[in-house]
């Protein structure tokens, strides 16, 4: 039986990808940020999963306004890094896990979440920046990511995005789906995006360190209460793009201490926590939680 071993949470700022790709990681501006991910890279080596279920949002790259799926699961055998207008990031293509992805799609849809199934999807910085941060830089031709990745897209571009509550419930459904897969795979679930940032208007550049950290505390200790945070609180307190944080609740909902039917398993162990301002316009938050049950 497959199981979820851990969840990882991280911002996915495009400028981090640019800094990596241009070899700027040791510059004074970027050094403190990348230093915060050094323990994470080691942790990834020590805890290599068989599959990563990676929750992110496409940034008007694979999905224009022609089609706007709220939740979309990538079931393809592979996914190419997208050209977002600056040329594709020089990173390896992403190898999927079509069998597990299709299994999760079938199970989760039968649990009443109406996923969109995607068999062709270029993946943008939302997906590749977290991989680079956690797995280190990889040569685009000779390198490879450490394991297959199932991309899971959430609409956070056109309002309303799905509620935190819905995302949290979806995480629980994904866990059930994973645990009903026969092969004994170790699966990590990653939630990406956030933390506080606003990329538009006179209020661009908003950062809310206190709110971000209180939200992180609650995500760890009382995720159900955290999932009740209304949309407008994200917008007002964490900026219009801070609403990406709902994606973290999908990963948190998939952890084994969360159980809709009553008492869950033991609380997860916090293996790493990191917070840094700024990366370009954004507050960077990062967590690694390991399951204990």
């Amino acid at each position: 039986m497959a199981k979820i071993t851990a969840s990882v949470y991280t911002s996915h700022v495009p400028a981090i990808g640019v800094a990596l790709d241009l070899g700027k990681t040791q510059e004074p501006y970027w050094q403190p940020l990348f230093a915060g991910y050094e323990p994470s890279k080691q942790w990834m080596k020590d805890n290599k999963p068989d599959v990563i279920f990676l929750v992110y949002n496409d940034h008007a790259t694979a999905f224009s306004l022609e089609v706007i799926p709220t939740f979309a699961i990538g079931c393809a055998a592979e996914f190419e890094p997208a050209d977002e207008g600056w040329g594709p990031r020089p990173v390896p293509k992403v190898i999927g896990h079509p069998e597990l992805a299709s299994h999760i799609a079938q199970s989760v849809i039968q649990q009443d979440f109406d996923l969109t199934i995607v068999n062709k999807m270029p993946v943008d910085h939302g997906l590749t920046v977290p991989l680079s941060l956690m797995c280190g830089e990889q040569d685009p031709k000779t390198g490879a990511w450490p394991c297959p990745v199932i991309p899971f897209h959430v609409n956070v571009v056109q309002y309303p995005v799905p509620s935190g509550r819905r995302c949290f419930q979806l995480g629980q459904a994904i866990r059930k789906a994973v645990e009903s897969y026969d092969e004994p795979l170790k699966v990590q679930i990653w939630g990406t995006g956030g933390m506080s940032h606003q990329l538009q208007g006179a209020r661009a550049g908003l950062i809310n360190r206190e709110w971000d950290n209180a939200w992180l505390d609650q995500l760890i200790a009382d995720p159900k209460a955290c999932s009740e945070t209304p949309h407008i609180d994200y917008v007002r307190e964490a900026g219009s793009e801070g609403i990406e944080l709902v994606m973290w609740l999908i990963a948190r909902g998939a952890m084994s201490d969360v159980n809709a039917d009553g008492a869950g398993g033991a609380a997860p162990t916090v293996k790493h926590r990191f917070y840094h301002v700024p990366a370009s316009n954004t507050a960077v938050g990062h967590l690694i939680l390991e399951n204990n049950a």
């Binding site: 400028a15 224009s64 360190r209």
Partner: protein
């Protein structure tokens, strides 16, 4: 019955909802077209001619040619789509975001390095934070006129 839109009273912020999306459909689709290198080249060679291939409003075309991202957003643009124009011009997200505040690139970058813009006074219209309408433009540009 009208939908509840509690986000209308956040200063300096346009939430890209279904109404904005409908208004901005062709503007944003034009932006998407700039993800192809040959379209970027054609746009750069003759902006007006390229824009005229799209059923955008005249105001949207003027806003694009002026590179006024706040104006683009008022006419239905979304920042993730508008970023394709910035990419075509070789700008970073930070340069684009900063351009909407009236600050110079250096002023905006400096604000971010110092921890970013505070939420204090910027949660509701009518407060006195630096993102409020009566305090625009920001940075040195805002001080010159006073």
């Amino acid at each position: 019955m009208a939908l509840d839109k509690p986000y209308k009273d956040v200063p300096g912020t346009i939430i890209f909802d279904a109404d904005q999306s409908r208004k901005g459909y062709w503007l944003n689709q034009f932006c998407t077209s700039l993800m192809k290198a040959e379209n970027r080249a054609r746009f750069k060679a003759d902006e007006r001619a390229y824009l005229d291939e799209w059923p955008m409003t005249e105001e949207q075309k003027l806003a694009v040619m002026a590179r006024d991202l706040n104006w683009c957003m008022r006419t239905g643009g979304n920042i993730y789509f508008l970023a394709r124009i910035g990419a075509t011009d070789g700008l970073s997200f930070q340069q684009m975001a900063g351009s909407m505040t009236g600050m110079t690139e250096a002023e905006y970058r400096d604000m971010m390095v110092k921890g970013g813009r505070s939420a204090e006074g910027n949660r509701y219209l009518g407060e006195d934070g630096d993102a409020q309408p009566h305090r625009q433009p920001q940075g040195a540009a805002g001080k010159k006129g006073n």
